[in-house]
């Protein structure tokens, strides 16, 4: 889901940098108000977790690869605004040091994976787990559903961003300038592989860690997070 340099035209890249600027600014303000110094190590663990889980490429035999993002888990534990900052840091380091995701696409990649994914996942988790006990199975299921749906929607959004490129940018002879695949190819490809495989990875990882924390550190699952 890391869009590389060259797949999105300047208009799309610019649009998402502009869209992310107030989100990053707002996230900083919210986190400044709510994050206690004691929570900083947990934020670092969240960012580290997201970073490393994205390195676990899962193959579709003979096809493509993909991975979980871990962002829904971070959002459940620290709130979506803190998760936005943690995942942004991981994505920026991946782009700058490892060329995983383009530097021109940092805005778009952060919008998909550091904004839409944690926020959607967080509110789905909240809705399903509403009123449930900290140690209830409903929380585990809520975490799994949230992970699955959020990763799929982020993937669909990525497919949409790929797919509009041929509409936006073409040479006089009709060749694509950036991503050559339109919505009819990009959307089903991105949605299909995430719905079939990678979404389940995010769901299982999120649910398992919540299950583990119910036993080991239920205080982390109490309300009143960032």
């Amino acid at each position: 889901m890391h869009i590389p340099d060259g797949y999105l035209g300047p208009a799309t890249c610019g649009f998402f940098y502009v869209a992310m600027a107030p989100i990053w600014a707002f996230a900083s303000r919210i986190v400044k108000k709510t994050l206690s110094a004691k929570q900083v190590p947990l934020l670092a663990i969240g960012a580290a977790f997201s970073f490393v889980i994205m390195m676990f490429n899962v193959p579709i035999p003979g096809g493509t690869t993909g991975h979980a993002v871990g962002g829904v888990l971070v959002a459940i534990l620290l709130g979506p605004w803190a998760a936005c900052i943690a995942i942004t840091v991981a994505l920026v380091v991946q782009a700058l040091l490892f060329g995983d995701g383009g530097i021109t696409a940092i805005g778009a990649n952060c919008f998909n994976m550091a904004f839409v994914l944690p926020f959607l996942g967080y509110y789905i988790y909240k809705a399903i787990s509403y009123g449930s006990a900290v140690d209830s199975n409903r929380r585990v299921i809520a975490a799994g559903v949230a992970g699955y749906v959020a990763l799929n929607l982020a993937a669909a959004l990525t497919g949409f961003e790929f797919g509009i490129q041929p509409l936006l940018h073409k040479t006089a002879s009709g060749q694509a300038l950036y991503c050559p695949y339109g919505l009819n190819v990009a959307l089903p490809a991105m949605i299909g592989e995430h719905a079939l495989v990678f979404g389940w990875v995010e769901a299982i990882v999120t649910a398992l860690v919540i299950k583990y924390l119910q036993k080991q550190a239920p205080e982390l699952l109490e309300e009143g997070k960032v």
């Binding site: 060259g6 390195m55 993909g66 695949y181």
Partner: protein
Amino acid sequence: MKMKITTKLWIGIAILIILSPVGLILPEVFKAGAAWGEWGTEEMMELVGYIPQGLEKLSSIWRAPIPDYAFHGWEEKPLQELSFAYIISAVTGIGVTILAVFIIGKLLSKKDD
């Protein structure tokens, strides 16, 4: 003495780092290619028969110091050495990520707790 939960989670991260080459080896074993939409220019040539002009120009805009979690010129190395580079990459990337979060956290978090 009971171990702090953050300590346990740090250990979990360390285990994931050591296991990370699984994310490199499994796609190789199952002959899976790049992620959708993350092809290099050569793969793009094979897929659509040309390299989109804008893509060709922009794709080389940034030279990452450790491209694709492997050292420069290591493309043809055996999987074992690539796995080593993958772990070094994970340690480096996560180290920088943690450092950045601690700096941001120091700037943003409330001192009184």
